[in-house]
Symmetry: C2
Subunit: 141 residues, 2 copies
Amino acid sequence: MRLTSKGRYAVMALVDLARFDGINPVSLRDISLRQGISLDYLEQIFSKLRKKEIVQSVRGTQGGYVLNRKAKEIKLTNIFDAVDEKVKTVQCKKDSKKGCNGKSTKCLTHNLWDELETHINNFFDKKSLDDLVKENFERRL
Amino acid sequence: MRLTSKGRYAVMALVDLARFDGINPVSLRDISLRQGISLDYLEQIFSKLRKKEIVQSVRGTQGGYVLNRKAKEIKLTNIFDAVDEKVKTVQCKKDSKKGCNGKSTKCLTHNLWDELETHINNFFDKKSLDDLVKENFERRL
DNA sequence: TATAAACCTGACCAAAATAGTCAAGTATCA
DNA sequence: TGATACTTGACTATTTTGGTCAGGTTTATA
């Protein structure tokens, strides 16, 4: 099981951006340089974040992106959801015609994976962007 | 983030096997048929489980596999570990020469991923094979 | 002791997902 | 009217996954 870069990058970029929340837009170029993430890739990611109304774009010179909601109200769940980073434990859910592995019944461990998903999602539901910014800020003192 | 089949199959197969714990060896052929997992793939998986002393093989006719420890003492962590299913959230750890993304410092979200790993591993540490067998048995009543 | 059942090993491979790059725009501020 | 920055979509190399295939070896039992 692994977390993909897309999800990680999205969170990193948003933490970077959140530090300037309310001050001025942050350009992707700056984020790219500071976080070491390819600009082109960031654009793909921010396009999705914008569609899900997590950020707002500001065009033109001195433009960039700003948060569309308070950092406290942006949960990691929202971010992962926006960039299609999902916690997938079983395929069975995809085509509900079949059970698991083509059987008509649930596989022996079906409930387990459900539990695990819930467990992980709980973690993401609790954490807000604001939490991350604060943690990071405290660490620097 | 997704869980790979290898980890899932390993757990499914072991739950299947654990139901006959102490009675007689279970052949991979039987598990393959019951769980709908390719025999060849099961062999790969059980080879790893045996090396980590989670199961023991019984050769010859009527042979198969048996648990090498009590089901209660086999945690999911052990199983995942055996089949190289790891919870990987950050790459940074791999080459400790660099920080994250080639920076000399930890990335803004490094602690977050560490926390997440711990959170997930806690879940796996608590669950034993025995728990799963019981849950499954109760569900059938 | 022959043979079939079952384990064991390693090489190989196709498909999917990932992690981007590249190109060609459009909008807007200064 | 540039320069800056967002916007979009197509494309691609690499890696991982999820197996298959071939050719063994070992051992119980008839």
